[in-house]
């Protein structure tokens, strides 16, 4: 199915979870803030939330330093 990640189209397997997507992108789940269809989702939902066709995700991947 097609989804939109940070404004770009991306083909992924069906019934992927947010956690599954992060693993595919090689991003640590504790370092991100994610908007799924313009709604911020909590970390506890990463394993549960299923991504659907045409869903829009904004993934902000934080790096350390300050």
């Amino acid at each position: 199915m097609n989804i939109i990640v940070n404004g770009e189209n991306r083909e992924v397997v069906d019934s992927l979870t947010v956690k599954g997507l992060l693993e595919k992108l090689d991003i640590k789940s504790e370092n991100v803030v994610i908007e799924l269809n313009r709604e911020i989702i909590g970390k506890e939902q990463f394993e549960i939330a299923k991504i659907k066709e045409n869903d829009q995700l904004e993934i902000v991947h934080f790096v350390g330093g300050g």
Partner: protein
């Protein structure tokens, strides 16, 4: 006749009078002349509604007058708005210590500063502390400095390590939060949690501020309605890529300016 203010007091002058006429009449010994936030040596005509500040260098004004004079170079109206506003700064390292000083100089009326650590020597390459403050709690050391810069603000200091369960209580009384942590997971935790529990409030974070790379690469990414992330989003602090004063201070300046724009309704 025209109505003007000089050092925040109301005066009436004949139309066609100049700055020099006003100075002669009100404070002839003044050697700094500021009109509507702009310092000038030109003897221009004054107009109805002008705000003029006359300062004698070296003179210590009364406490009442001091706060007003400190903001004399502000764009008119900005100080009044900021004085009624509030901001909280989470983490008092290179980003947070610079942000706190910026917002104190801007005159944000109520400032909260939060950190759990003490000042140590490796902080001094970028953080706004002094050698004599080594070993002090950062909240106490920075509070001393802020008080020296602007004693007319309300400061709240909290020495605590911010975890998810504490976010609501720590920030509930503040309009805008500046995320200035060091670790990526703490940044993500605070911004994610804050956006879910306070969707109507503003949070301004940072990510990717290490090194001495071109400051043009420091951008602002907007997330949702009220969250902003400053940085290049990739240059993390790691072995071989340090955190240094100049680039961290630029990022802190961008965060501070976003906060001020938000608090004055311009974001």
């Amino acid at each position: 006749m025209i109505n003007i203010t000089v050092n925040e007091k109301n005066f009436r002058f004949e139309k066609g009078q100049t700055l020099l006429d006003v100075k002669k009449a009100v404070k002839s010994e003044a050697d700094v002349v500021i009109i509507n936030g702009f310092q000038t040596d030109n003897n221009i005509e004054v107009n109805d509604g002008d705000s003029i500040v006359l300062i004698k260098k070296g003179e210590i004004p009364s406490r009442d007058e001091m706060e007003f004079l400190m903001a004399a170079r502000h764009t008119p109206g900005i100080h009044r708005m900021l004085k009624k506003s509030s901001a909280a700064i989470a983490g008092l390292g290179g980003l947070g210590s610079n942000i706190a000083i910026n917002l104190a100089r801007m005159g944000v009326g109520k400032l909260k500063i939060i950190d759990f650590d003490v000042v140590e020597p490796s902080n001094l390459n970028r953080q706004q502390y002094f050698i004599h403050q080594i070993g002090k709690k950062k909240v106490d050391a920075l509070h001393e400095t802020l008080h020296q810069i602007n004693p007319y603000l309300e400061y709240d200091c909290e020495n605590v390590y911010i975890t998810e369960d504490k976010v609501e209580k720590i920030f509930s009384d503040y309009q805008v939060v500046l995320e200035a942590f060091d670790k990526a997971e703490n940044k993500a935790m605070l911004i994610g949690k804050f956006m879910r529990i306070f969707p109507e409030k503003c949070i301004i974070g940072a990510s990717g501020v290490a090194g001495i790379y071109d400051t043009k690469t420091l951008g602002v990414r907007k997330l949702g309605e009220n969250a902003y992330i400053v940085g290049d989003m990739e240059n993390e602090a790691r072995p071989g890529r340090g955190l240094m004063s100049t680039r961290v201070a630029v990022a802190a300046g961008i965060q501070s300016n976003l906060a001020v724009r938000y608090l004055t309704g311009g974001l």
